[in-house]
Each structure stands twice: as C-alpha cells, then as structure tokens.
Symmetry: C2
Subunit: 306 residues, 2 copies
Amino acid sequence: MPRSSFLMRVIILGSGAGGGVPQWNSASPACILARAGTIPSRTQCALAVSSDGERWVLINASPDLRQQLAATPALHPKPGTVRGSGIAAVMLTGGEIDAIAGLLTLRERHAFVIYAAPTVLTVLAENQIFAALDATLVPRRAMPSGEAFDVADLRVEAFAVPGKVPLFAERDGADPGRSEDGDTVGLSISTPGAGTLVFIPGCAALNADIRARIRAADLLMFDGTLYRDDEMITAGAGLKTGARMGHMSLDGPGGTLAALHDIAPRRRVLIHLNNTNPVLLPDSAERHHVERQGWIVAEDGMEFSL
Amino acid sequence: MPRSSFLMRVIILGSGAGGGVPQWNSASPACILARAGTIPSRTQCALAVSSDGERWVLINASPDLRQQLAATPALHPKPGTVRGSGIAAVMLTGGEIDAIAGLLTLRERHAFVIYAAPTVLTVLAENQIFAALDATLVPRRAMPSGEAFDVADLRVEAFAVPGKVPLFAERDGADPGRSEDGDTVGLSISTPGAGTLVFIPGCAALNADIRARIRAADLLMFDGTLYRDDEMITAGAGLKTGARMGHMSLDGPGGTLAALHDIAPRRRVLIHLNNTNPVLLPDSAERHHVERQGWIVAEDGMEFSL
C-alpha cells in the first residue's frame, strides 16, 4: 500500500484553557455568549490523534474528557462490542489539573499506556486517586525528551518548553517563576507518509529548539491562552499575569504573533484559549487581527488531516 | 414573610452512576441509545439544593460538574458580576471518584465550604491535587454523624450507610467487603417550612435507622444503580456484583423495590443509575415495573420543590 494513502487525523477535543468557556464561575463576555449559544462553548484543551482512524492517542486528559469522548463519534466503542475503545495511549504535556484530571474518567478497566514527563509521573504517583487506573492494565512510561518514540504507529518527540510547576504543587507563598526542568513539554507528532503536527498548549518563552521545531511543522497548534499579559487583571478575573501562569501572550513586541509570524507554518492554530481572550469574540478587532495573520482560532470538534 | 412561602428547590444535576450514560467505553444498549439521543444522556450523580434559590449546596461533586453547571441556569454567575457563584457548600456522601473529582472543577478562587465524613476528608488530604482548592478560601469540615447542622439555611443530617471504601483506596487483592465505618453517608435535608429530602445514592443494606429516615422523608432519592445484582457480569461489562460494589439491587426478595415498597414516601426517585440498568430503556418490563410501584427514574435536570 503506498504510503501516500496514509493520513494522520487530528481532532480537537477541547480548545479552551483551564476552566473552559464558559468557566463555571465567570461572567466574562465570552462566557455569557457561550452560555447563550451565540459563540461555541469550549471544553478544556485536548487532542485525539490517529495514524489509521482506529487506534487513537489522546494528548492530555482534560477534566471534560467524558463529555469530549461522548461528542466524538470516532472515539465511541464499536457497536457489537460490550466494552471497548480505540484509545491506545494518553500523552500528557504537563501536570496541571486541566491536563491530567480526565485520567480519572478512563477508570473502567481499559488497557492503554500513559506517557508523561518524569515530574508529571511523580504527580500521578503521589496522588493515590490515580490508582483508580490499575497499573497492570495502564502502565505509565516516562517520555524520553528530545528522542523519538513510536506510539500506535505515530512517531512522537517530546521537547522541553519553558513553563511552570502545576499550581497545586506550588509551595506556599513562593513564586516558582519559570521552570525549564521538563514539567511542561511540547510534542512533535508525525507518520512516515504524512506531515508533522507540533502541539504546544502552554509556553512561557521561545528558545532555539522550539523555533526549529515550529519551522519544521506542517500544522502548528500553539498556546493562545491570553491576548494580553495583564488581561485577567484588567478584567477583574484574577491577580496573575500570563507570565506568572507560564504563558506567553499573543500581543505586543515580544508576543506570540510577532515571534511566530515568519516561522509558523501556513496551517497555524491558536488553542488553549482562556475565557478572557478577546479572540473568542467573533467581531473583535483582536479576532480579525489574528485571522489576518493566518491563525485559526480553535473550536472543539475541528478536525485536521496531514 | 410567612414561612409557607419558603420552598426547598432540589435539582438533579446528574442521575447516572460512575461513568454516566453513555459511559465512554461501553456499548451497552442504554449507552448506544443515549449516544443516538433516543434516551436522555445521564451525567454522574449529583444534586443542587437551595432554601432560597440564591445560595446553593451541591451534594457530591461529580467529574461532570463543569458540564452540569453549564446546563443549569440557576447555578450560573449573575450577569454584571465578573466572577461569582451561588455555590455556598459542597457536601460529599462518599469518597469515590464519581463523588469527589468535580471538586477540581471548583478551583477558581471561589469561597465555599466542603462537608464530608472524616474518612473522605482524609482522602482529600492525602491527595495533593485537591490543594488546588485553597484551604483559606475553601475550608473542609467533618460532617457530624446523626447530628443536625445548618448550611445556607438548610438543616442537614448525615447518617452512616453500609457501603464500602473507595475502589482506588482498596488494598491490593483484598476484598474489603462491607464497610460501616462512615465512608458512605446518606443525607436528610430540610428547611423549617418545607419537607424533608432523603438522599441515599449508594446503599449496601438497610438498617433500622435508614428505614426510619426513609419513613420520615417527603422526597426520597435512592440508590438505583443496578436492577439485578449480577447484571454487570451477565452483560459482560464487569466481574463485580452489586453487593461487591456496595449497592443493593432493585430486584429480588431482598431488593430495594420490595424493601421500600411500604415505607418510601409517595415521591420516590431512583437515582445513581448504572448504564446496565434496564430501567433506562423506556419500553422495558423493568421500567414499567418500577413505575407501577410509584418510582420516578431520575433524569438530569429534573427539579423538585418541597
């Protein structure tokens, strides 16, 4: 069979940042519009990727995973089976709740493999609640950093991204600042006959390695959490800047739009969108601005082929 | 204002057992019909209760809590506020994932109180991930057993129910059998001018205290997990009996229907429904049978006033 007949399918299960849109306790303009059905609701960020449409790899296990799987026919068990799933593996790009809590949804004696950075595996090991996933059925493997490995016929490379330790693991009062010790990773995913997806849902800063990986991507999905570094503060929605939360912002001279303008591939998607981000509002100047620069604002259920 | 104008509102946020309907990896008849929209989907079991329609007490925090809150206008933040919620407290009837994981959804610096049995508070303390709920904003209080206490003008009594320790906390290989040490509780909830809700989503066996509380109820919501003790085994969906999972079954001489026939109040609701339970199928003999005995089969979004 010619390799050209192979495609990689990428489904956006969730396009929102932690809390989603609407976020349960937020009355931001985007949350109000999402509740009214005027703009799409967005669950918390996760992808499903497959080399054959049968075996699927989840990228992050969001707290909304049950809802996301119910909404995605490709991930339903086949009729005629009693129990089953095409989910072969779950890869985690960090240890925040919005990336790992959905593992608890997968607690029904289905065999799959968890891949994560060693620090994230430590979070899972230290929280007994994840013992709901029987280790004999659901082994946990450390993702080698910068080294390719194969999962369900996908070629994967995890690479360190400047980020931060999970909020719940911060020490009292300490500002952990930026962490580059591998808590947060990005992923390059490809198949032999197809192109390369680069997925970086959280990124505090670019470096030469990340730039090179972005240049090599055919499809980029990148941290679109905040438009402006201080937008949560000016919206009265929080006390933290984007930088404090481990996210670059889109706007400004050092922002994502400027930094990636010339190096991102033609297919470029903003994902992990916070409910304060004005790009969620279809008529905003910010939405028009990112679209003019070629960016797609991610929505749940979007599908891409490579 | 005359007390008679006060009502207690009870909203069923979720009516399903652990995993919900459809359950992500199940192709049971009910799951297939729920995916097709032929029968209602059911999220995992939880209630919202209010004495005034403004301040709400959640009973259990299911993994589906974000979806449940989005679907429930009474629990949306008021427009005009930036952030806010009427949720004043969360009461937990057990430590299973389907009762506690939703706490992680409430991690956005909103002040409320968690009430749970001491053993359940130990589960929360031993899993650092729940530190996402800042203890200075979200205090955790042990529910006194058998003693009334007040929460948001609701009068609450928690009472021990035969159950079992959470699955994820079982020791390897050991069958913990039945636990009566307070891991699982039922709740009686009332307001001065209204009647009494008795909520028992999991019950391994009745005893004299539970029977007396059920007799005193105006509205009963009771464990409807399984119709037959061995239905998960005969469906090929698992290896465990209902008894092993801490649930009485509806059918049979020692079953719930027979045991509660003469003591349950007129308003009687089966809740915490597993995806294997034939009462989910509208035309089943089992559904007709429970309805002839006066039982309502719970659906998400049902609301009751007392």
